[in-house]
């Protein structure tokens, strides 16, 4: 009977080897992927119990983990929730669960998750030290480019105009580097409510925000594209000068009305709403200062659809360029346009749509001698002990216009503030360049959108601003104008940066 006993010994050996191989596969090879599974409560609980690094603005944390005495060890708290909500985002149990979700809204809490949670390879040495010394691993800190004074001015200014219900956004950039100095979107929300350990409360708050027709979770600074209206005339002017058609001292076509080619009647008739734009021609300076529609519609047709689009794309239209908050809406300039449509693009209508960030980049590019810098929000990443690990290097996105064109455009925009429509942004003793915009929404029941773009000081720009007002409840339709509503906000932000 020994032969079959030996045979089944071998059979049992095979069974045991199969068990061992399977266990090894499960606990070694599959361990990582199972640990990343959003349904794995152990991994989620563990991640959620870790102290996360802080999100810093200046030296102050706007998001930090504080010890908590409930079932998770740390509570994520946001010290200035309303002003920074759209930048920081929030971190809660469901975020921890969804892991690297590619379709979700991802703010700094998510785009910098590896670093904040301490999983980033750049923190490897720290992790190793923690492991050897037996200390709890902590996450690194993220310092933002935001300027606390500028952000405060932007939030307070926009809130004062819009009230708690209004919709709008503000972006301020440092032209030299592309640093985002301020980014505010209204209406806003309290991320603390979404970071609660009471998951029922979190779900209720989430449902409430989702159901709100004003969409408070939407970051309008990067996720809403609207027709930029007259602020787009800066791009039209840039295309005209850059292509050698006109210079700042030249007279440009003007006149009280302009019938778009191939059109008849009111629909194709462009006027200047009573602003003085000469009989047939007007100086370039006056055309910009008075925001002459007749001028810029004709300039766009003279430049041509193709070169208009090339100029817009050099400023960033039809591209994605911002990585620190996801997703973003792509600002649009139409791929194809006939003559009358091209005329309309020249004054920021037809299919032109831009985010506030995009319009800020247009003026920042001009302020920076024609070079558009890639915007960024993460200034540096730090170890848990606040030692700098890596600083973001500014990066040029494109050379949108030559420095000569940029300086001519600056002169035009300074004149617009000094003696034109953009006067509400004037700061005594400082040269400010700016442009207003009031864009038709294209729908009868939706009031026009008010825009304002500016930068200062004009000779050595420190800050470029774009203000967008989508809906301002309580303000009469006739009073909606970029200069009146947006100018003072832009002024406050520029002052905050210049006086720091």
């Amino acid at each position: 009977m020994n032969k079959p006993i030996r045979t089944i010994s071998v059979a049992f050996l095979v069974l045991f080897l199969a068990l061992m191989a399977n266990v090894t596969y499960l606990q070694y090879w599959r361990a990582d992927s199972l640990g990343d599974d959003g349904r794995n409560r152990r991994a989620v609980d563990a991640a959620f119990s870790q102290p996360r690094g802080a999100i810093l603005v200046g030296r102050e944390p706007v998001a930090e983990s504080v010890p908590s005495d409930d079932r998770f060890e740390y509570q994520r708290t946001y010290s200035q929730p309303l002003a920074y909500a759209h930048v920081t985002g929030w971190y809660n149990y469901f975020n921890a669960q969804s892991g690297a979700c590619s379709t979700c809204q991802r703010r700094i809490e998510q785009t910098q998750d590896d670093l904040l949670s301490g999983d980033d390879d750049r923190l490897f040495v720290t992790r190793l030290v923690d492991l050897l010394s037996g200390e709890t691993s902590e996450g690194g800190n993220v310092a933002l480019t935001l300027d606390p004074a500028a952000q405060r001015a932007a939030f307070d200014g926009l809130r004062a105009v819009l009230g708690p219900e209004g919709q709008g956004a503000v972006v301020a950039l440092e032209p030299r580097t592309g640093k985002v100095l301020a980014m505010v979107s209204l209406p806003t929300f309290d991320p603390n409510r979404l970071a609660s350990h009471d998951l029922t409360e979190v779900s209720a708050a989430g449902d409430e925000f989702d159901a709100d027709p004003a969409q408070p979770l939407l970051n309008r600074a990067i996720q809403t594209t609207l027709p930029p209206g007259s602020t787009f005339k800066v791009v039209t002017a840039a295309a005209a000068i850059e292509n050698g058609l006109y210079e700042e001292g030249d007279d440009v076509p003007g006149g009280p009305t302009f019938q778009l080619p191939q059109t008849t009647g009111d629909t194709g008739l462009i006027d200047n709403q009573g602003r003085s734009c000469g009989a047939t021609t007007v100086s370039f300076t006056q055309a910009m200062a008075n925001s002459c529609n007749t001028t810029f519609a004709r300039l766009a047709i003279e430049v041509g659809a193709e070169r208009m689009r090339e100029q817009a794309e050099l400023f960033g239209f039809n591209q994605q360029y911002f990585e620190d908050l996801l997703p973003q809406a792509t600002s649009r300039f139409p791929e194809e346009a006939n003559e009358p449509q091209t005329g309309q693009t020249g004054i920021g209508q037809f299919d032109v749509a831009a985010t506030p960030l995009q319009m800020a980049m247009v003026v920042a590019g001009i302020a920076n001698g024609g070079t558009v810098m890639k915007p960024y929000l993460v200034d540096e990443v730090q170890s848990p002990e606040f030692e700098q690990i890596e600083q973001t290097d500014p990066e040029a996105l494109s050379d949108a216009v030559s420095s000569s064109t940029a300086s001519q455009l600056t002169d035009l925009l300074v004149a617009t503030v000094d003696e034109g429509t953009a006067s509400p942004a004037a700061i005594p003793g400082v040269q400010v360049a700016g442009k207003t915009g009031t864009a038709q929404s294209g729908q009868d029941d939706v009031p026009p959108y008010a825009w304002f773009v500016s930068f200062a000081p004009a000779d050595d720009p420190e800050v470029a601003v774009a203000v967008m007002i989508q809906e301002a409840p309580g303000i009469e339709r006739g009073e909606i104008a970029g200069g009146l509503l947006g100018g003072p906000i832009a002024k406050a932000i520029m002052e905050a940066v210049i006086n720091r």
Binding site: M1, F16, N22, Q27, R42
Partner: protein, 468 residues
């Protein structure tokens, strides 16, 4: 008996096995270090301090194990020296893990399990003391078989039968519950061994050859068909996939060893596959098990009925343990329902890691290997079949339950020998070890005078004839 006649001419018989009791004692000290160390580690890991009852607990464990060792030394001096330490280590580890789960789940299973272990060791000692020669058991071939069938039927009876988690394998008499299947498996091995040692010649020699395989005669198929029906009955009526597989596989392996004919494996394997296929076609609970095994994540989480909650949580837990484990108190093994019984390996995988799993698997492998070694060197056919059967029970049970928990095969409800919480299983397994020690003791003992051996053989044969 052919076994005896073969071995008498074997020159290896001149070799005399050493008793190796000192080695056993040394290994037992190591095993105690595992059991008591694990208990202390649980206290430190979960509660942050060495348990206050460590000395009492450790003393009790040591007394049990050393007591067993002393009895082995007295009544089975040539018994295999590795089996007892391996079992002591597994039992000690199981107690520690159950205690660890008690601490977070607020249950009191470990104390209960220690009582069962005490009873188990008592029966182990009783078996060794009363059963000085395993061949005595051949007298009880049919009694054992009958008792096993009665035990297997008991859960089906009204009043005392009890359905737990969909499987009807429990008997409840007042406050005391037991799983008679655990006891039945020992009795079945005894019955099979007794039956096969008598009928092996008929089963082995008659038959025809077909396609290179010797197939048995139709009229000899009776026993295998009977066993097949019993297994299917367990599967269908008690919904106990694991026991069904265990009993039928056990019978098949013993039949193969007794007859040395692979044809039985072909016939039996075919029957089992056929039966399993039909059961899969006919019964929804079998289909559910297979589906959950193939796509566990489809049956887990919101929007599903969470049928796979237990296996998926176990999978997550073991993956969470990784290579070295989270350490006692570092994981969350309580998330797996019934972690202290069927899914104790998941708790071990989570907190002791792949390393702990491998160690446990190697310990089980050692038990099987030692059992089969006893079968190989045993000088009588009954001893060979008994040891083979007991080792097979172990190997199959470990494969079925650990394979199920780790997702290698569909999940079935079986206890993990010596680790799982559960009295019937623990006590039955201690008896199995006692029987294996008895077989190995007789096998390793110096050969008595040849004439005496022949006499013993004749007496045995006569006794069985009388019994028939």
């Amino acid at each position: 008996m052919s076994g005896v006649s073969q071995t008498t001419g074997n020159p290896i018989l001149g070799f005399v096995h050493r008793r190796r009791r000192g080695a056993e004692l040394f290994l037992l000290v190591l095993a105690l270090a595992v059991g008591i160390g694990a208990y202390a580690a649980v206290g430190v890991g979960v509660e942050g301090a060495v348990p206050t009852d460590l000395i009492g607990y450790g003393g009790w464990l040591a007394a049990l194990v050393v007591g067993a060792h002393v009895v082995v030394r007295l009544v089975a001096p040539y018994a295999d020296p590795v089996l007892l330490p391996v079992v002591a280590a597994l039992n000690g580890l199981g107690l520690a893990v159950i205690h660890r789960l008690d601490l977070t789940e607020d249950t009191g299973f470990a104390a209960q399990q220690l009582v069962w272990m005490t009873i188990g060791v008592g029966l182990f000692v009783g078996t060794l003391v009363l059963l000085r020669d395993h061949r005595v058991l051949t007298r009880f071939t049919y009694t054992s078989g009958l008792a096993a069938i009665v035990l297997l039927l008991m859960p089906m009876l009204p009043l005392i039968g009890n359905e737990v988690r969909g499987a009807r394998i429990w008997v409840r008499l007042g406050p005391v519950g037991m799983q008679p299947g655990e006891v039945a498996k020992v009795l079945l091995v005894i019955a099979f061994a007794g039956y096969l040692v008598l009928h092996r010649d008929a089963l082995a020699l008659a038959g025809r050859r077909l396609l290179l395989v010797d197939l048995p005669r139709g009229r000899d198929l009776g026993p295998i068909l009977g066993m097949w029906l019993i297994s299917l009955g367990i599967l269908v009526f008690q919904r106990d996939l694991g026991s069904s597989l265990l009993f039928f596989g056990l019978f098949l392996f013993m039949l193969y060893v007794a007859t040395e004919r692979a044809g039985w494996l072909v016939v039996g394997g075919g029957l089992f596959l056929g039966g399993a296929l039909v059961a899969w076609q006919l019964f929804s609970h079998v289909q559910t098990r297979v589906n959950v095994w193939l796509n566990p994540f489809d049956y887990y989480g919101p929007g599903t009925n969470d049928t796979a909650f237990q296996p998926v949580e176990a999978t997550f837990g073991m993956a969470w343990g990784g290579l070295l484990g989270r350490g006692f108190g570092g994981g969350d093994p309580g998330r797996v329902p019934f972690a202290e019984s069927d899914f104790i390996m998941a708790a071990i995988g989570e907190e002791l890691g792949l390393t702990g799993m491998m160690a446990v698997l190697v310990l089980y492998g050692l038990i099987v290997e030692r059992g089969l070694r006893a079968a190989l060197i045993s000088r009588d056919g009954f001893g060979k079949l008994l040891a083979t059967g007991l080792a097979s029970v172990f190997a199959l049970q470990v494969f079925v339950v650990i394979g199920g928990v780790t997702g290698l095969i569909p999940l079935t409800g079986l206890t993990t020998p010596f680790l799982s919480y559960g009295g019937s299983s623990l006590v039955a397994n201690w008896v199995i070890i006692a029987l294996l020690l008895r077989v190995s003791d007789l096998a390793r003992r110096p050969v008595p005078e040849l004439t005496a051996a022949d006499d013993a053989g004749d007496q045995d044969t006569q006794v069985i004839r009388v019994a028939r």
